[in-house]
Symmetry: C2
Subunit: 357 residues, 2 copies
């Protein structure tokens, strides 16, 4: 049965990099008979220019009827003066919340060919391949009550609530267990169960579910230790799962371990397996239209889409292998260029990945 | 006027390493006419053996009447079977809470001589010298309400409260501003003010106090970015200040950047400047009594004591310079030994620091 993918190029370098990712998907389609179909849509500044808002309800509905969304990036100085509610970024927040995309998958992968880019010693990070699964729609970032109140003493007090229910924990845990099944079979759950009750419940739910995934080895780690271990020996991890706030901190730290954030894809999934796929980097308006942006993070996002939303793991593996091959060939866009390698354009990089299939 | 220091050697390697630190303090006393006096006391397992509890009220009171406390380490397998309330660690928690030690100072220093120990590239971390000031008695680790409740739907929900009042923020902020004045004059406050109201108030208070410290350059950073920047370019920081939970995560990550946790001192201060000083490492019962433990973290804790509680910065500088000198001489205890250096005992290392004055 045909799988429909909504393409939302967005702003800045978005259209250029998405174009290459679509070309790679089409190549994968030809090779593996995936029966993909594509629809184009607007989000962010592009939608503001056309419709006066960063994501129309009609566009949202059309996206929701697809099997997955591939997004470039949104935003740029052109729309910075708009009031907060109709800024380009609101389009992203709207699609995430309206489609219930509670599971954020953030791989931190360091291709050995790029190991020098890291601030860590090559032997510590070369070949790093971990996946952080972050809960994205709950936890302290959304918890109530919250605010700043004035105490009887007259001084102000700020407060937020870190809260998770069993069902919220269970669904993100299942996403993580399933991701571990598709990868190395190891899942490390990160909490602060020695201090925070909300994470005591988190740990209980993970332990309760573990017997349903006998092929996954579950471990637990306190968040302060996890931050240390990511610095000390990040390759010890396969999949990590944690709440929204700890995931925010740890996934950014893990991404930085690679030294090449421009290479990293991401996914945001809901319960049905529907997902939004996008590079971790932004819309880079300063280099938009010059044809020099790095399309690899978007191409790797497309590979994640095949693996996690479309159950086409073989094609995903092939795309990732092709990316590794072009790096072996010494091809580099400007952002990852080092002396002795061959500097290529956005389109040349995309074509090289297609050719490496 | 004479300054009185309470010496609490504790358990395991505690007595051995504290003995060397006291010898260094005595040497500093002679050289700089500090007029120090010392009192010996019991904490942890040593106190349990003598009095049946990890810290007696009499000992607590005696400590509170001193100007500072120098502590070794507590705990060991001998006391692991005791019930939670009278374990050695409870002595530490008691002295911290009863004496109101709300400011935890955690330096992350990497002597260039030990740069190879880090998982980061030497050029990224060699000479690292940052200080993380962590609020220690408030925030989400202590916030109420907290617990696990059953919702009407029958499912459980865990919750904790992240809360700070203006006065709590102000006192830790002042500690951090003052520490920055004693160091490089730069203070980076870490929050998540784009999402969490409690840290919006945190940022407000820091901004309000800044004009009182015109010699300190205040900046703000979101916690996820701070975690990234610690990995990418940690030497950009001088002093960082943050709440209890973020401080827990970031100070452990920063310590691990050095690769030599056995070298790191710490301080916990209250409003009067009284402080408890101790190495970051534990009591290492496995090597206790062998005379091979590294006394440098405790010696550096003694230097912090002179700087932060006794206002004897010159003597503190001299101790730190002496430590650097013995490292230059190639002296290493077993934990930091590398080929080509000279392996020394606990007592030899202490004597070398004294001789390097
Ligand atoms: Mg973030
Ligand atoms: Mg910790």
């Amino acid at each position: 049965m045909s799988k429909k993918i909504m393409i939302l190029p967005g702003d800045g370098i978005g259209p250029e990099i998405v174009e290459q990712a679509v070309a790679v998907l089409e190549a994968a389609d030809r090779k593996f008979n995936l029966d993909l179909s594509f629809e184009q849509g607007l989000i962010g500044g592009a939608s503001i220019d056309a419709h006066g808002e960063p994501l129309t309800d009609a566009q949202l509905e059309a996206a929701g009827q697809c099997d997955a969304v591939l997004l470039g990036a949104v935003g740029g100085p052109k729309w910075d003066q708009l009031e907060r509610e109709i800024r380009p970024e609101k389009g992203l927040l709207k699609i995430r919340s309206k489609l219930g995309l509670y599971a954020n998958l953030r791989p931190a992968i360091l291709y050995p060919q790029l190991a020098e880019a890291s601030s860590l010693k090559p032997e510590v990070v070369s070949g790093l391949d971990i996946l952080i699964v972050r809960e994205l729609t709950g936890g302290i970032y959304f918890g109530e009550p919250r605010g700043i109140r004035t105490l009887e003493s007259g001084e102000k007090q700020g407060f937020n609530t870190y809260v998770y229910s069993e069902s919220e924990i269970e669904r993100i845990a299942r996403t993580a267990f399933e991701a571990a099944q598709k990868r190395g079979g190891k899942l490390c759950s990160v909490d602060k169960a020695n201090v925070l009750e909300v994470t005591v419940l988190w740990r209980e739910v993970l332990d309760r579910l573990a017997p349903e995934y006998p092929d996954v080895e579950l471990s637990h780690m306190y968040v302060d230790n996890a931050a240390m271990q990511l610095v000390r020996a990040p390759k010890q991890f396969d999949v990590m799962v944690t709440g929204n706030m700890f995931g925010d901190i740890l996934s950014d730290a893990a991404a930085m371990l690679t030294g090449s954030i421009g290479m990293l894809p991401s996914a945001s999934l809901n319960e049905t397996g529907f997902g939004l796929y996008e590079p971790c980097h932004g819309s880079a308006p300063d280099i938009a239209g010059q044809g020099i942006a790095n399309p690899l993070a978007t191409i790797l996002s497309a590979a994640m889409m095949l693996r996690y939303s479309l159950d086409m793991g073989e094609a995903a593996d092939a795309i990732e292998a092709a990316v590794s091959k072009v790096l072996d060939q010494g091809l580099r866009t400007a952002d990852i260029y080092t002396e002795g390698s061959k500097k290529v354009s956005t389109a040349e990089m995309g074509a090289a990945v297609v050719a490496a299939f």
